[in-house]
C-alpha cells in the first residue's frame, strides 16, 4: 500500500497490508478509512492505482499487488 502526499501524511509510509482472500480495491480502502477520519474525507478526490494503473473499486487484489493512493494532481 503506497500512499502519497496528504494521504501519506495520514497513513504513514508505504507498508504491507494483510487482507482476506478475494478482497477488492474498495475493501482495502474501507479497511484503511475505518480507522482514519481524515482519509474518509478524501474518498471523493483520491484515485486508487493497482500495479501502476488507475483501478475501479470492484477489482480483486492478488498477493503482492501494489495499491497506490493518489490525491488530486499538483505537478507542474
Amino acid at each position: 500500500m503506497l500512499p502519497f502526499a496528504r494521504v501519506r501524511e495520514l497513513l504513514g509510509p508505504p507498508r504491507e497490508v494483510e487482507l482476506p482472500g478475494g478482497a477488492t480495491v474498495g475493501a482495502l480502502w474501507d479497511d484503511l478509512a475505518k480507522t482514519c477520519e481524515g482519509l474518509r474525507q478524501l474518498a471523493q478526490s483520491t484515485r486508487i492505482a493497482l500495479n501502476g494503473r488507475v483501478a475501479r473499486r470492484e477489482e480483486a487484489l492478488q498477493d503482492g499487488d501494489e495499491v497506490a493512493l493518489l490525491p488530486p494532481a499538483g505537478g507542474g
Partner: protein, 141 residues
C-alpha cells in the same frame, strides 16, 4: 526522454534531445518556483513527490496523444521531485517539430495535461512557517 529527476533540470539538454534535421522549431516550457502562491502568500520553496513509474508513463502517453492531435514532433518531459527553492525549475517540456505551430500546440497541450493528470504532488512552504499540499485547479478526479 520522459523522466522524474532528483537534481536540477538541464533545459538545454532536454531541448537538444528533441532536435532532428527535419526540425525547424524547438519550444521549451520551464515551470519555475514563484515567490508567491496562487492565493498571494509569500512562498519560500516547494516540495514535490511523485509515483515515479506512473508519472513517467503518463508523460509518454500525453506525448503520444499530442502527436496524434497536432502532427509529427519530438517531445521530452522532465519533472523534478524533492525540495526546490524560488527560481528553480520544477518541470521542463521541450518539443521539436518541422514548423512552429505544431511545436507550440504540442508544448501547451503537454504541460496542461501533465498538470491535470500526472501523479505528482506539491507542498508549498510559506514564509510564515506553515506548509500546505496544493492540487491543480483542473486536476483529474
Amino acid at each position: 526522454m520522459f523522466a522524474i529527476v532528483r537534481g536540477p533540470i538541464d533545459v538545454s539538454a532536454i531541448a537538444k534531445s528533441v532536435r532532428t534535421d527535419a526540425c525547424g522549431a524547438i519550444i521549451t516550457f520551464s515551470g519555475v518556483v514563484r515567490e508567491t502562491s496562487d492565493d498571494d502568500r509569500p512562498v519560500t520553496g516547494l516540495s514535490y513527490e511523485a509515483h515515479e513509474s506512473m508519472a513517467a508513463a503518463e508523460f509518454e502517453a500525453i506525448a503520444q496523444e499530442a502527436r496524434r492531435r497536432f502532427g509529427p514532433c519530438e517531445i521530452a518531459v522532465a519533472h523534478r521531485i524533492g525540495d526546490l527553492h524560488v527560481g528553480e525549475v520544477s518541470v521542463a517540456v521541450a518539443v521539436g517539430a518541422p514548423h512552429r505551430g505544431v511545436a507550440f500546440d504540442a508544448c501547451l497541450f503537454t504541460i496542461d495535461e501533465l498538470k491535470r493528470r500526472a501523479p505528482i504532488w506539491k507542498k508549498e512552504h510559506y514564509a510564515q512557517g506553515d506548509s500546505e499540499w496544493r492540487s491543480n485547479p483542473d486536476a483529474q478526479a
